[in-house]
């Protein structure tokens, strides 16, 4: 929290969702979406770090992220 001094680019998030959903967003929905995105990132990094640690890698490797991506996306399927 302290790390994110700067706000995230609200406009960008709004544009992304707008383009993907082909719908407009209400005024503050993007905050919640970004919150959900943060949760997603948290989960993704958690899974990836677990996986990479299991594989004995020191840092998180892109492969482990890719392996984990699908599973995490499924978890975030509404």
């Amino acid at each position: 929290m302290a790390a994110t001094q700067k706000l995230y680019p609200r406009a960008t998030v709004k544009r992304i969702v707008k383009a993907q959903a082909n719908r407009s967003l209400s005024k503050n929905a993007d905050i919640l979406i970004f919150l959900d995105y943060m949760l997603f990132m948290q989960e993704l990094m958690r899974e990836a770090s677990i996986r990479s640690r299991k594989a004995g890698e020191k840092n998180i490797s892109p492969n482990s992220v890719r392996k984990v991506t699908e599973k995490t996306l499924r978890k975030f399927k509404g």
Binding site: M1, I16, A29, R53, R66, T69
Partner: protein
């Protein structure tokens, strides 16, 4: 008798029983001795002195036969009294009635026949066998109840769905569970969600005209997803034969591609080598609806197909839009990510994503800025792996890809929710619904507690204004 004083003197010392000199018992006890030991005093004394001889004289066992001594008799009687079996063998002598005898007599008097007890075990197996037979019959009869399940809930589903019922009963997806590192409660939902994914395109299509083809596509993919597709080959062939014309003529092609993606998504996941049966099917059926349309469809009829597709999407811009849609589909779609779970597909996709991205609606999609993604990634990586955790560039690319997929998926879900609510805009309620379905929100966790945990204060304030806490 044996008047030797020596003997007399010694015996009381050795035997307490025989010690009484004047008792009749002593006389009787000594009676048997006489025949054995003739009265010669020398012998008599000799025989009495050793212990062995004396003991042999007194123990009844040595004499064999019935005990003649009163002690022996008494011992025999006692033994007989203690062991009722012997007495019984003597049959009715009834010298002494033990407790058992009394009880036995009582039982005989009270319950003359104990027969009915025996019959019960014999009677039991018969009903069991009957019940077994009944179960088998029931199992046979159970098949009809499955019928209703075969029919899809959609009202307008055509007669083809009778065949489609079979794919509905899918084998449990064991491969998923095995692959997962940690199974959580959400993973239980995988099959359900998979079916939802499969059904969703159909549902969306139902509102528009060209339902039939898409359903068939979906069903075909569904059949693919079954490991034992061999069973259905005949059916599929028939379907193909029936629907060839319609498919070729109408061919809502993009939608078909979508469903196909979803189908692969279900399918390749579970079974690495599914294509073989499909190929066989294709060999049987004249048209390769199941597989062929993936690539050839693009080449085949771009002009024809896209027009219905666009009308359905809502922003019909024409052929250009068509061309736009296809690459976007390839680059953006989440399904390839699912399909691969593997590296190769995603790498290809990553390369594609470097290009300008378009959503499925043809709207250009900006990337999530790399700085934000990296910041979040390093932050969470540090939370996990310690302060020195680094996120390399390639890892960051993978994460960006994942996040773009995430946004696509989330925004599709949000659009579905808002559409269901009859709104044109995505509301906060939609997002909360999404998070609730993601199991991020529950009775104990509210949006605000989550936001407090993760979001900076400025955003919190923004949030609070429009949404009073529930």
């Amino acid at each position: 008798m044996s008047g030797t004083p020596n003997l007399r003197a010694r015996q009381p010392v050795r035997d307490s029983e025989a010690s009484t000199p004047a008792g009749g018992t002593t006389l009787t006890t000594r009676l048997p001795i006489h025949p054995r030991f003739p009265s010669t005093p020398s012998r008599f004394t000799a025989s009495t002195t050793p212990l062995t001889n004396r003991s042999s004289r007194w123990t009844p066992g040595n004499r064999g036969g019935a005990p003649s001594t009163p002690h022996g008799l008494r011992a025999m009687q006692r033994r007989a009294a203690n062991t009722p079996g012997r007495e019984r063998r003597k049959s009715g002598r009834g010298q002494r009635e033990s407790v058992f005898d009394v009880l036995r007599n009582l039982s005989k008097a009270l319950a003359p026949e104990s027969q009915p007890i025996r019959s019960s075990p014999q009677a039991q197996p018969e009903p069991e066998s009957e019940s077994e037979i009944d179960e088998i019959d029931e199992l046979d009869n159970e098949t009809p109840p499955e019928r209703p399940r075969l029919s899809l809930p959609l009202e307008e589903v055509e007669e083809d769905d009778d065949d489609d019922g079979s794919p509905e009963i899918r084998p449990p997806r064991m491969s998923l569970a095995l692959e997962d590192d940690d199974m959580t409660h959400t993973s239980v939902e995988y099959p359900r969600r998979a079916t939802f994914d499969r059904d969703r395109p159909r549902l969306s299509m139902m509102s528009y005209g060209a339902t039939r083809l898409d359903e068939n596509f979906g069903d075909a993919t569904g059949l693919e997803s079954d490991s034992d597709a061999g069973d259905f080959t005949g059916i599929i062939g028939d379907e193909d034969g029936e629907q060839d014309e319609t498919i070729i003529s109408q061919s809502a092609f993009d939608r078909g591609g979508e469903t196909e993606d979803l189908g692969r998504f279900n399918f390749e996941f579970n079974f690495p080598s599914p294509n073989a049966p499909v190929d066989d099917l294709d060999a049987d059926g004249p048209t390769n609806d199941d597989e062929g349309f993936e690539l050839p469809a693009i080449g085949l009829e771009p002009g024809l197909n896209l027009v219905p597709d666009d009308s359905e999407v809502g922003d019909a811009t024409g052929d250009s839009n068509v061309e736009l849609n296809l690459p976007s589909r390839v680059s953006m779609s989440e399904s390839p990510g699912f399909v691969g779970g593997g590296v190769r597909d995603e790498e290809i996709i990553v390369q594609g994503s470097k290009q300008k991205k378009l959503s499925r609606h043809g709207i250009p999609v900006p990337n999530m800025p790399a700085g934000v993604v990296r910041k979040l990634a390093t932050r969470f990586a540090r939370a996990r792996a310690g302060p020195k955790a680094k996120v390399s560039k390639t890892t960051l690319a993978a994460i960006e890809q994942a996040s773009s997929w995430y946004f696509e998926q989330a925004s599709e879900d949000l659009a579905a929710y808002s559409k269901h609510a009859g709104r044109k805009t995505i509301d906060e309620a939609d997002v909360t619904a999404l998070m609730r379905r993601q199991r991020h929100l529950n009775n104990t966790t509210t949006v605000f507690s989550l936001a407090q945990k993760h979001l900076p204060k400025e955003l919190l304030q923004d949030m609070r204004l429009p949404m009073p806490p529930r």
